[in-house]
Symmetry: C2
Subunit: 218 residues, 2 copies
């Protein structure tokens, strides 16, 4: 996870940031072993040899901690997609970057896109990060050289309800392509990460690649 | 959930089945409010006014209870898909039945296809139920009147690794269609159930319908 903030500020701020990072590390371990919904600040405090009240000075409650983990995860995804786009990645390249990022840390992917944590409500301010990812996706979906996507009722519908695309000038076909890129890649990745293809015998990477081509080709 | 078993057997067996159903009802409520990974037999016992040891006579541990919930969920899905197929539903009809079933009980869908419960290992014997669903899907994917799916490297690959299709005679195109039906419908449904489309403004039903047409049309 992000460690940049540990390198700036006063010694006291740096110490605080280090402790926060350590708390988050333990929280990810708990999520992997017990699930996000079972995340317990007291259990994290115990693992770190801190008292509960001492830990609450860093995160006031479970939801605040989960929010930080979600923000870190979206930030990491946005950084990954931006880096790929800056390197000239097209839709295929973004798909590959997304897959590599998801497989590198399944818990991180599933915290963002898996079963919601009951009782937890995500804060509004992750919207900026998700729209950064969406913008990169819309850019790549609106590029030259992609297969034709003939007009359809869905494209009209998406063009009429395009608030989620912000001010992006993507045409209706690009809106459509960006949405199905998201849902189709997620469909394969989330089933793969949850182990549903285990024992089926085929290679999920080949399925993913074919789904990427279907989106690129239109 | 299934209640058929409460209607047969001795009074003692019927009582036992009734208590098991009640335990499962409380377990689903706990999953909705606290998450599957936080499911606690002691908490269920407390809600039912039973002692922990009394409840353990019905389910030896958390995993056994989760297994029963998963089995019920797969059974319900298999029944739903069978009923649709018996009514002559084609791939479009199966997709609609799947969506209605998923939206009727998001927790049930997400227990099967969402984030895996850490530390829980599904038993082998749910395989029968998942292959029943897959068989209905392969039948519908192998039917007449569907759009052409030209040969592709993925189809060759799926045909070479077709153990998951059992003895089903589906041709490579039908194997391909069945797999992308699953991953694409799951992609839309799981993001919808997890609330990712909330606030985006478009109608997920229209996206789902267009994805169904893309699979049917090839």
């Amino acid at each position: 996870m992000a460690t940049a903030q540990t390198e700036t500020g006063t010694p006291r701020q740096r110490y605080r940031a280090q402790v926060q990072e350590e708390i988050k590390k333990h929280a990810w371990e708990q999520i992997a072993t017990a699930g996000a919904s079972a995340l317990s600040l007291n259990a994290v405090a115990k693992q770190m040899g801190m008292s509960g009240p001492a830990l609450y000075r860093y995160f006031a409650n479970r939801d605040e901690l989960i929010t930080e983990l979600i923000r870190d995860a979206y930030q990491s995804l946005a950084d990954t997609i931006h880096a790929a786009a800056a390197d000239g990645a097209d839709l295929r390249g973004l798909a590959q970057a997304l897959r590599t990022w998801a497989l590198a840390d399944p818990q991180r992917y599933l915290l963002l896109y898996g079963t919601p944590v009951p009782g937890y409500h995500a804060p509004e301010d992750t919207t900026r990060l998700t729209s950064e990812v969406m913008t990169a996706l819309l850019d790549a979906s609106d590029a030259e050289g992609l297969g034709a996507m003939p007009p359809s009722p869905l494209q009209e519908h998406l063009a009429e309800h395009r608030g989620w695309a912000g001010a992006h000038p993507a045409d209706p076909a690009a809106l459509h392509r960006a949405v199905i890129f998201w849902t189709r890649m997620h469909g394969v990745l989330s089933l793969e990460l949850a182990g549903h293809f285990d024992g089926m015998g085929f290679d999920p990477a080949q399925l993913y690649a074919a789904e990427v081509e279907a989106v690129v080709g239109g």
